[in-house]
């Protein structure tokens, strides 16, 4: 009988997610132990929670670098792996969590909804996400997906006082559970088709063709739902609009990263056995188109950003399709996705954090009208939003441009220039709505009273980091590009 001990590699592999989970639990404990029954409690900054969270995230981030390096090792009997790809994705997730928890204190106390479970939830969710990025068999994937989903459902309904929040959370839950059914069905098919294996590595050749490809598709659908690809996108706008703005930002980034990581691993494993590339590209195209077009007329910023998020999922799907191009598997192009996600992290969180630093009574400041004249009132916040918008629109000298450039370049090099053209054309459309907040902030005089939250140091720090990140990735992207290219050289399965 073997001894029940972890190998060092296994320990190192789970360390980041373990730290995150532990931080989440610690936060819960702290909230229970130190919480007093002060009626104004929900408006206090609760700096101790913020600092604990930041410390936990930093620790987890540090743990990422404690690793054997580029080797992709199979661990825990194949339940997870420890490769650079996973760590890259985990890094983005942890950074997103770090920034969110940094900003959370100021934001939540500003709108008077500061409760400890917010912090706990994002850390628990983040732990699950990191696991998902590293999971290599069906069970671990499923469990990770469900764990993070549960955290998200709760986060979406975090503000119980808002009807929208409840509505969004409930929509999210129903649809999430519905899609879980599909995901699970796909997994069952894969399990059946592979002749008894739940290991991703075994899904390459020798899969039952029909059962296997339908199973793969169903799993892809499950993840497509998570990232908000059309036609599985319907939840996104409602959930973002209902969620507290900071939570929406975190969700937008972290869920995408984790889901894409798992999706990429999956398609790399199954390969293009059934011409999945065409379907994925079709999804990419309609996702880009619908996301951008539907965002055009939005007046609620969270909703607009939700559609924008949908559109970005479309761009992110392009490398997935390219990787499966013509039957052969070409993981190199996935680097585009990784880099894009990193740029997306700073860009999207930039907007959401900036919006978090504003409020409107005890509500989010989330409409175009509400941010009118922001350029005059709070120029730095307006500047940060502008920077993010410019980056989202893919205008040069920002991370967003480099990401788009990376992806479109691979598309053209891969012979799919049509995809690049469609991507470009939809980007043109997107410029219009990305400019609308800029118009509102700078070209209109202040019409409503916008308040800035107090105790905003964390928010500002986070905002500084995201803005710096946007420019850094736009001007000096080389290191991250090289890292992303290295990350996809060998994927653990």
């Amino acid at each position: 009988m073997e001894e029940l001990v972890f190998s060092r590699a296994e320990f190192e592999a789970v360390l980041p997610s373990a730290i995150l989970f532990a931080t989440g639990l610690l936060l819960l404990l702290m909230d229970t132990c130190f919480g007093d029954r002060d009626p104004n409690e929900d408006s206090s900054p609760k700096t101790h929670l913020v600092l604990t969270g930041v410390a936990g995230a930093l620790l987890a981030f540090a743990a990422l670098s404690v690793s054997a390096g580029d080797t992709s090792v199979r661990l825990f009997a194949g339940a997870m792996t420890d490769d650079l790809f996973g760590r890259f994705a985990a890094g983005i997730i942890i950074l997103a969590t770090l920034l969110t928890s940094l900003a959370a204190g100021g934001y939540l106390s500003g709108i008077g909804k500061h409760r400890g479970e917010f912090h706990a939830l994002i850390f628990l969710g983040a732990g699950a996400m990191v696991l998902l990025a590293q999971a290599t068999n069906l069970i671990s994937i499923f469990v990770a997906v469900e764990t993070l989903s549960l955290a998200l459902y709760v986060l979406a309904g975090y503000v119980r006082a808002w009807r929208e929040s409840a509505e969004g959370a409930f929509k999210y839950f129903i649809m999430g559970a519905f899609s879980s059914g599909f995901l699970l069905l796909g997994m069952a098919f894969l399990y059946g088709a592979s002749g008894g294996s739940i290991q991703l590595a075994d899904f390459g050749d020798g899969l039952d063709p029909v059962l296997g490809s339908v199973g793969t598709l169903l799993v892809i659908i499950g993840f497509a739902f998570k990232v908000g690809a059309v036609p599985f996108h319907s939840w996104v706008p409602d959930v973002y609009q209902g969620s507290p703005v900071l939570a929406a930002g975190w969700m937008a980034v972290a869920v995408k990263v984790a889901s894409f990581a798992a999706l990429l691993r999956l398609v790399m494993a199954t390969g293009d056995s059934a011409n999945m590339a065409g379907l994925i590209m079709a999804i990419a195209v309609i996702t880009m188109a619908l996301g951008n077009l539907a965002a055009l007329n939005q007046t609620n910023l969270k909703r607009m950003l939700a559609y924008s998020g949908i559109a970005h999922s479309g761009y992110l799907m392009i490398p997935v399709g390219l990787a499966l191009h013509e039957g052969s598997v070409n993981p190199k192009v996935l680097a585009g996705s990784l880099f894009y996600l990193a740029a997306y992290l700073v860009t999207t969180l930039g907007v959401f954090v900036a919006l978090s630093s504003l409020k409107h009574g005890d509500r989010d400041c989330d409409t175009l009208d509400a941010i009118k004249g922001l350029g005059r009132r709070h120029p730095l916040i307006a500047l940060a939003i502008t920077l993010s918008m410019v980056s989202l629109a893919g205008i040069p000298l920002t991370g967003g441009f480099m990401g788009k450039y990376f992806i479109f370049r691979d598309a053209v090099l891969g012979g799919y220039w049509q995809l690049a053209v469609i991507g470009i054309v939809t980007s043109m459309v997107s410029i219009y709505y990305y400019l609308r907040p800029v118009v509102a902030m700078y070209f209109h005089e202040p019409s409503e009273k916008i308040e800035k939250v107090e105790a905003a140091w964390g928010l500002h720090l986070a905002l500084g980091i995201t803005s710096f990140g946007i420019l850094y990735l736009g001007v000096m992207p080389e290191r991250l590009v090289a890292l992303s290219l290295r990350s996809v050289e060998r994927l653990g399965m």
Partner: protein
Amino acid sequence: MFSLTACLYLSAFLFSVGIYGVLARRNILVILMSLELMLNAVNLALVAFGRAHAVAGAAGEHRGQVFAIMVLAVAAAEAAIGLSLLLLIWRKWRTIDVRDLCRMNG
């Protein structure tokens, strides 16, 4: 007694019933039940596959069964969340009809 195919058909039937229930019913409680049904239909398939593979001697570690148990656990957690959300909806909206939840659209 039962062939794998028969089990899969049953599973598929149950899954479809679940889908139908989710799509067609207005009552949130019934929808939650239908969702459970979908998951359990898959469980049936998993178990059936596991059993079939075990009989075929391919890899007889009953992974399907293990998977099914994990799913059950997850489903339980999900139900808990679902019900508490239901409570929240009831408190804020005073309804358990999904069609009423359409304040946000467009």
